[in-house]
């Protein structure tokens, strides 16, 4: 069921994963990664551990190019209007705390 071949995306030079990638990687229902993110006991700092990218507002060309890459990788839920990107390092901490599979 799980997809161990999930490849992190490159966002401003950082390896990141989306919530959809995490759900898919764990073979889990949509929302599982977000639940783990919401309830994380590990402190996650925006700008360092995760980034929030709005999908429905005009943005920087570099972000547009990233979003294209993310959509091509099928890493965005169609109903999402904002993207949460977790750095690989932050996901490793989250996975350990929430019993998720490491990348």
């Amino acid at each position: 069921m799980s997809n161990p071949g999930e490849r992190p995306l490159d966002y401003r030079g950082q390896a990141v994963v989306t919530l959809r990638q995490i759900d898919r990687h764990n073979g889990a229902v949509k929302g599982t990664a977000f639940r783990a993110f919401k309830h994380a006991d590990v402190p996650l700092v925006e700008g360092r551990d995760f980034f929030v990218v709005p999908l429905d507002r005009p943005s920087h060309p570099a972000i547009d190019s990233f979003l294209l890459q993310a959509r091509q990788a099928d890493a965005v839920y169609s109903s999402s209007r904002a993207l949460i990107l977790l750095t690989r390092h932050a996901y490793a901490r989250l996975a350990a705390a929430a019993n998720l599979s490491p990348l």
């Binding site: 919530l19 229902v29 949509k30 929302g31 990664a33 977000f34 639940r35 919401k38 309830h39 929030v52 839920y77 169609s78 109903s79 999402s80 209007r81 904002a82 949460i84």
Partner: protein, 283 residues
């Protein structure tokens, strides 16, 4: 395809909610086994109320509540309106008391007595008609303030606090409305005052529901972060949620008013029967 077992598994397990529901059902069953006879309809109403509260909080339904605004509104309709409404309609005090150990049926004496006296005073203040009505509507407004709603849906502790406040306030309010039988510590309002309270809480709920339904902007952005449970236009989701806040919530007041009137008529009929019997006995 989701299996029955997956449906029954809570999305956010909560031991306090689980225990409260099991205790509520268990105590009622023990009360009936010890001889309390609530009747079929009150028992059905009670178990349905407790069961609905359990279903919307401790099954996979809660998943939809967290990823769909309309499902969240339905969850709160059950927690604040329908569930407590059905429980209070059953007036389960006597059955629950029968289920308790005999030594617990009277208010505690000794060192705990002052604590329970204070609790009783707070309860009586909260059950003043204006305060009860204000709290009932105020909580709906409070938790639907977009920034507060965002935080409540993002924090597990706040999420459960929100749900508990809704359920407890619902119980307080509907208990005040349907209070009958032997006098307890709940203020006994006349049918007219009960109907006035029910009428007073309707317009603010209608205004809020209509505002959400007709708002041109996406008010509750928390549901956009991860995306909704299934592909649905955010505005459509918001409109359905607004309609749930508006129509069924307000309709509950109308239904409750009819029930209050029915209780009144029933009371009058019984008094009339009793008078007739006394007259016949004398004759």
């Amino acid at each position: 395809m989701i299996t029955l077992l997956e449906w029954l598994r809570p999305w956010e397990p909560s031991l306090p909610v689980f225990l409260a529901c099991v205790l509520a059902a268990g105590l009622y069953v023990v009360g009936m086994m010890r001889g309390a006879r609530p009747g079929f309809w009150p028992a059905l109403s009670y178990f349905l109320g407790v069961g609905l509260i359990y279903v919307v909080t401790q099954t996979h339904y809660d998943y939809y509540s967290q990823y769909l605004f309309a499902a969240h509104r339905l969850q709160h309709l059950v927690l604040h309106h329908l569930g407590p409404f059905l429980i209070a309609l059953a007036m389960p005090t006597a059955v629950l008391a029968a289920g308790l150990p005999a030594s617990w049926r009277t208010l505690p004496q000794g060192v705990m007595a002052p604590f329970f006296r204070v609790l009783g005073s707070i309860y009586r203040v909260l059950q003043q008609p204006f305060i009860a009505g204000f709290l009932f509507v105020g909580l709906v407004y409070f938790w639907l303030t977009p920034d507060i709603h965002f935080d409540a849906m993002l924090s597990l502790d706040l999420y459960w606090f929100m749900n508990w406040t809704m359920a407890v306030d619902g119980l307080l309010f509907w208990w005040l409305i349907f209070e009958r039988g032997g006098r307890g510590i709940t203020p006994r309002l006349s049918p007219g005052r009960r109907i006035m309270v029910l009428a007073a809480i309707m317009p603010p709920q209608i205004v809020l529901g209509a505002y959400i339904t007709f708002s041109g902007q996406n008010l509750f952005e928390i549901y956009d972060v991860c995306g909704r449970a299934f592909p649905i236009d955010p505005m459509l989701d918001q409109q359905i949620g607004g309609l749930i806040t508006w129509i069924p919530a307000a309709m509950m007041s109308v239904i409750a008013a009819v029930i209050v009137l029915a209780f009144r008529l029933d009371q009058e009929e019984r008094a009339e029967d009793s008078r007739t019997e006394t007259t016949l006995e004398r004759a």
